[in-house]
Symmetry: C2
Amino acid sequence: APAGPSGAIVTELRCVCLNPTHRIRPQMIRHLEMVPAGPGCPNVEIIAIMKKGNKVCLDPEAHVVKKIIQKFLNSSGKQKN
Amino acid sequence: APAGPSGAIVTELRCVCLNPTHRIRPQMIRHLEMVPAGPGCPNVEIIAIMKKGNKVCLDPEAHVVKKIIQKFLNSSGKQKN
């Protein structure tokens, strides 16, 4: 039988985050980007855009990262205009 | 006493989202941006960048929006590389 891929479509993995961390100072985060798992990358990716402009990949499975996201979600000043 | 602002520093509100919605098709979202409440805007803001390129503001307090975020967080393909 012929060697090599049997017509399998190899989608080039385009994961952005290679070494996600859970070490971050939440108050230094300007905003978070959340990219769901998809054809390009099998993992959800969470990217923190810092106030200094750099980007930090966060580990979506780390408890502290989930807490940061929860805190952001509940951070509204409850001022309904 | 002199009328007018008593030296209060009026920070110009820079909220991006004016009419957030909860009506969205999650599978059409490319990624989410989450901007925590802060000096510029007293509300957390959640912006969905759609696959077609447009941006949609989501209501952070809507149950369905919180479910979408939860689903994204748990969407990893569980493939640890």
